[in-house]
Amino acid sequence: MSEAMRRSIEASMPWLVVVGLLVIWQASVVLLNVPSFVLPAPTEIWAALLQYRGPIFQHATYTMISTMAGFGLGIVVGLLIGIMIGSSRLVYAGLYPVLIGFNSVPKVALVPIIVLWLGIGQPTAIATAFLLCFFPIAVNVATGLATVEPEMEDVLRSLGASRLDLIRKIGLPRAMPYFFASLKVAITLAFVGTVIAETIASNKGIGYLMIQASSQFRVALMFAGVGVIAVLGIATYAIFAAIEKRMTGWAMRGKR
């Protein structure tokens, strides 16, 4: 097999798997006569998606906006906390255990409290998305900063570089691959946060749509909702993976 052929097969593998799974799904539903309120066939889900494309699009946009807002907040706060705990041992000692403790709390448990403060609607979704996604960013940036080779720092310190110089010239550029890698994780977590908040406390968004569809037994619509979330998640992941590759090509040396 030629190299080009092997590579094109490699690139189409995810699609082949998805198509394969859908075919198996469709076949088993038809052959085993599964009622559509238990598990609708892919064709039914597609029909629901087309039928409700207007409202689905509206709710998806709403979810997307909440997610992006929470993600944006997460980047800012995550970067700040990451820089602080990565560049100061004292802040690290004080803040890191607290962060770990905070991160081990299931965020769903926090949503009722957030609702109490921010009410039902978008602010709660944004806050939940933010709470879920800032942690990996902070930890990754801190790791990048804390693992700078001492020789690199010595070279600059011997020239009289200040702490700020060290962070700007070495720490931050070195932490960038860690930062962009964490963005891929954080964006998917932000989606999880938004949808969780929407299922509990919202009048809009894909999460809300799912709850509505569930209460009305529109199972195909629920699955359509899940599909839309998956597509949104994959799309944003791909965008940040592309940005990562562009910004930190030096860290992936030698790879295609």
Partner: protein, 265 residues
């Protein structure tokens, strides 16, 4: 000639009052414009000596003077290169060489206005070491020897009057190493900055230096000083000169003796 670097009875202890004593009673004097080499058995505190002289580490006892003033912190008149080239992988060679100018005063404030001049200087240095065509390459695309050349350029870009080299050629193969001795000697002959080379390669020390200091086992101190009065510019032929071989042998015997003694102790 005046003394440019002096160490008076310097001691260095790591990790508090009960920690390891790396140096004890170290004395040495290096004249302005001189090329000095420090050799010794491994673990004798050669690298600690470097950290002291650049002000990265304060001494536990004793005094260190550079250019007549006591050392109390990092000095911008020093350039430094280590065994690990430690070039920044996200920068091109040219950007790496320019790095000290972004840190050292007064250059950092003139970077914008004198950009062309600085770039020309960095390119000139890269050319001297034979890297002119690689200036836009990233360090990890190049061999270890090439990286070490760029490292040398970086340590020289801000015209230091004191150059500190900590086993800069230690990780290179013999041919590249000998080639870089020549490159370093040429630059030094041209600019005449004071240089301190820490190395475990005795031929390297004798080839490059005017004066070789031999250190004892830990806690390190200077136990012998050898003046190398071989004519400049030295070539690889010099390394076969009986006088050269004689000096190398003397130093080797001294270090062998130190190792014996420390084993017996």
């Amino acid at each position: 000639m005046e003394d440019f670097v002096t160490l008076d009875n310097v001691a260095l202890r790591y990790g508090g009052a009960k920690g390891t004593l790396a140096l004890s009673g170290a004395d040495l004097k290096i004249r302005k414009g001189e090329f000095a080499a420090v050799v010794g058995p491994s673990g004798c505190g050669k690298s600690s000596l470097m950290k002291l002289m650049t002000g990265l580490q304060p001494p536990t006892e004793g005094a260190i003077h550079v250019d007549g003033a006591p050392v109390s912190g990092p000095l911008s008149i020093t350039g430094m290169a280590f065994q690990n080239p430690s070039l920044l992988p996200w920068r091109t060679l040219l950007q790496n060489v320019m790095l000290p100018l972004e840190i050292v005063r007064p250059h950092r404030h003139q970077l914008a206005s004198r950009k062309e001049e600085y770039l020309a200087k960095a390119r000139g240095l890269l050319k001297t070491v034979g890297l002119a065509e690689f200036e836009e390459k990233h360090p990890w695309m190049l061999s270890g020897g090439m990286q070490q050349r760029a490292n040398l350029c970086r340590s020289l870009i801000h015209d230091p009057s004191l150059l500190m080299l900590d086993e800069p050629f230690g990780a290179l193969d013999a041919f590249t190493r000998e080639e870089l001795w020549g490159v370093l000697q040429d630059i030094w002959l041209e600019k005449q900055f004071t240089t301190i080379l820490v190395t475990h390669d005795l031929r390297e020390a004798v080839f490059l230096a005017d004066v070789v200091f031999v250190m004892s086992a830990r806690p390190g101190r200077v136990i012998a000083t050898h003046r190398v009065d071989l004519p400049r510019k030295r070539t690889l032929e010099t390394t076969f000169d009986p006088k050269f071989i004689d000096i190398v042998h003397q130093i080797r015997n001294q270090i062998a003796q130190i190792r014996e003694d420390s084993k017996a102790a």
